[in-house]
Amino acid sequence: MYHRTARVAEHVRLADRTYRVRLDCPDLAAAIRPGQFVMLRLPNTSDPLLGRPFALYDTVLDAAGRPVGVDVVYLVVGKMTGRLADVTSGTSLEVWGPLGKPFLDVGAPDHVRLVAGGIGQTPFLAFARELLGTRGFGGDAPRKRAAKVTLYYGVRTAALAAGVEDFRAAGVDVHLASDDGSVGFRGYVTQLLESHGTGGPLVGCGPEPMLHSLARLATAWDVPCQVSLETPMACGVGACFSCVARVKTADGGWDYKRVCVDGPAFDAAGLVWD
C-alpha cells in the first residue's frame, strides 16, 4: 500500500459534471487490481478534510506497456469533488491505495454482464479488460477469463453517460438506459437487463435500490451476482469502522462489515437489503 503525493498528468471532462483525472503513480498502478479503489485528498487544506474513495477506472501504461499511472472517473456531487474539478494538470493530489479487495472471481463463464447505474460504471472498465484478457493487473500476465463482456449502463439523462466510448474501444458490448429516454432504453437499467432475459454472472455497481433490484433478478434467474458498494468512508483502510454494510452471518443473523476491507464487492446473496 502506498501513501504519496501524485502529480495530476491529465484532467479531462467526460460528460456533464463528470471528469477523468490521471495520476502519475507507477508503484500504485503496478499493484492495483480491478475492483480496488484509492483514496484521494486535496493537499494543504483541512476543508475538505477527509479523503474520498474512488474506484480504479483504468491503469495507464507507458510505451513499453509498464503501468505508470491510474485513471479515476468521478461525478461532482459535493464539496470535495467540486474542488477536485478545479485541480489542474501539473498540480498534485494526495493518494493512498490500492485499497479493498478485487472483484470476486467469476470463474470462466462465456458471458459476464456488468450492470451500472449513475456513476457506477467506473470500476468496470479495468474489470472488462481483465475479463477479456487484454490487460494484466497487479503484475499478472493478461489471461482471458470470459468470452464476452456486456455493460448495461443506466443514467438519468444522456448528458451524464461517461466513458461509453472507452468501454466500446475495450471490446465491451454496451447497452444504455436513461430515465428520460434521451439515450437508449427508456427506464431503469435493471428493466433493460430483465428484458434481455437470464444469462451469465452479474456484477453491479450503482445506487442501492438499483443493486437491490439486480439482486432480486439474480435470485429469480439463479445466477451469481456480486455488487460493489459505495458507503461513506473516513480512512479507506479499515481503521474507522464508518463504511459498514449488513452482511449475513452463518448463524442466520447479520453483522456490520467494513466495505473498505471486506469489500467493496460482496456476493449479493450475502447482503441484508433494507
Binding site: R41, S46, D47, L49, K79, P232, A234, V237, A239, F241
Partner: protein
C-alpha cells in the same frame, strides 16, 4: 541526540507520539502504511465486555475542518479481542495500551481483571470513560465520584498495570474530573475524547448520522482540546496525554508546551495515514529548536506574560 522518552506515572514510552483509540483499528489495518517501531505506542479500538454491532450508518460525516462520528463501539467483545487481536498486538515493536469500556462500574472492573488475568503483555490500559455514542450512561467521566471509583477499583484489580483515564470534554469543569482520576490512582489522563455535536440535512429535515448525534474531532477541536489539557496540567496532579485535532508537528509541540507529557494522533490517521510516523521523525528537530535535549524538558513550559 534528543531524548524522546517520556514517563507518565508508571507508563514508559520511548517517544510521546501515540495513536488514539478508534482511529487506528487494531493496528493490523495500518501495518501496510506505518512502521510501528517509530511510534511511542498504539491504542487499539475500544473493546467492550460483550460484542456490539455498533450504530446504524451513516456513522461519520465531515464537517468544517473536522468530522462527526457515531460508530457506537462496534467490536467483537473482550474474549475475541484477547484471542484474536492481542496476540498480534503483542508482537508489535512498540508500547500497546489496551482500551476498554464497561457498561457499568462493575463491568469496568471485571474487564480490567480479565485483561490482567490474561497475562496481557500490555504497556498500559486506557479506560474509555467517555464515549459519547452509546446509550446506557457510558459517559462516566461527567461525574468525579464515579470516575474516582472506577479508576480506584480497576487499580485494585490490576495493581501493576499503568492506567490511563480517557476523559470527556463535555463537562463544565474538566479539572475536577482529572483530579478525581488522579485521586483514584490513574497514572495519566487522556484529554480529550470527542465533543458531542450533530449535523442536519435541512432539505430532508433529517439528522445526517444514524445515531442523530456524534462526536466531533479533527482540526476544528484543537483549540478546545488544548485549553482542556492546559487546565488539567495546571493541577500538577496527574500527567496528561493530549488528544484532539493533532495532525502536525506544530500541533504536537503546542500540546507539549501547554502541558501534555505525550499526545495521541487521532482523526489525522484517517486523512493522513502516515502523519504519526512523519511527526515522530521530525520531533527531535522541534525539541532541539527550543534548546532542549529531551522532550520531557519542554513539557508544560508555557509562560504567560505578566
Amino acid at each position: 541526540m534528543v531524548d524522546l522518552s517520556v514517563s507518565l506515572g508508571r507508563l514508559r514510552l520511548h517517544n510521546p507520539i501515540l495513536v488514539a483509540s478508534g482511529t487506528f483499528g487494531y493496528a493490523k489495518e495500518m501495518a501496510p502504511l506505518v512502521d510501528f517501531a517509530k511510534l511511542g505506542g498504539v491504542i487499539p479500538k475500544t473493546v467492550t465486555a460483550a460484542p456490539r454491532a455498533g450504530n446504524r450508518p451513516p456513522r461519520t460525516v465531515e464537517t468544517a475542518s473536522g468530522m462527526l462520528n457515531a460508530i457506537g463501539l462496534d467490536n467483537d467483545g473482550l474474549e475475541h479481542f484477547l484471542a484474536h487481536h492481542l496476540p498480534y498486538l503483542r508482537t508489535l515493536p512498540t508500547a500497546v495500551i489496551g482500551n476498554i469500556a464497561g457498561k457499568t462500574e462493575d463491568e469496568f472492573v471485571q474487564m480490567a481483571a480479565r485483561v490482567h488475568a490474561a497475562g496481557h503483555g500490555l504497556a498500559g490500559l486506557e479506560l474509555n470513560l467517555s464515549c459519547p455514542n452509546v446509550s446506557g450512561g457510558l459517559d462516566f467521566a461527567t461525574d468525579p465520584d464515579v470516575t474516582r471509583r472506577i479508576v480506584r477499583r480497576c487499580r485494585d484489580v490490576c495493581p501493576d498495570l499503568p492506567l490511563v483515564a480517557k476523559l470527556t470534554p463535555n463537562v463544565t469543569d474538566i479539572q475536577r474530573i482529572a483530579a478525581a482520576a488522579a485521586d483514584g490512582g490513574a497514572d495519566a489522563v487522556s484529554a480529550v475524547n470527542t465533543f458531542v455535536g450533530m449535523a442536519v440535512d435541512w432539505r430532508r429535515r433529517r439528522p445526517v448520522l444514524g445515531n442523530v448525534t456524534g462526536g466531533l474531532s479533527g482540526p476544528a477541536i484543537k483549540p478546545l482540546a488544548l485549553r482542556a489539557v492546559w487546565r488539567i496540567a495546571q493541577l500538577r496532579a496527574v500527567p496528561v496525554i493530549g488528544v484532539g485535532g493533532i495532525g502536525t508537528l506544530d500541533d504536537v509541540m503546542d500540546f507539549l508546551v501547554a502541558g501534555a507529557s505525550a499526545v495521541q494522533i487521532g482523526t489525522a490517521n484517517f486523512y493522513d495515514p502516515t502523519a504519526s510516523v512523519r511527526i515522530a521523525a521530525a520531533l527531535p528537530g522541534a525539541v532541539a529548536a527550543l534548546g532542549a535535549d529531551r522532550v520531557a524538558a519542554v513539557v508544560g513550559t508555557l509562560t504567560i506574560p505578566s
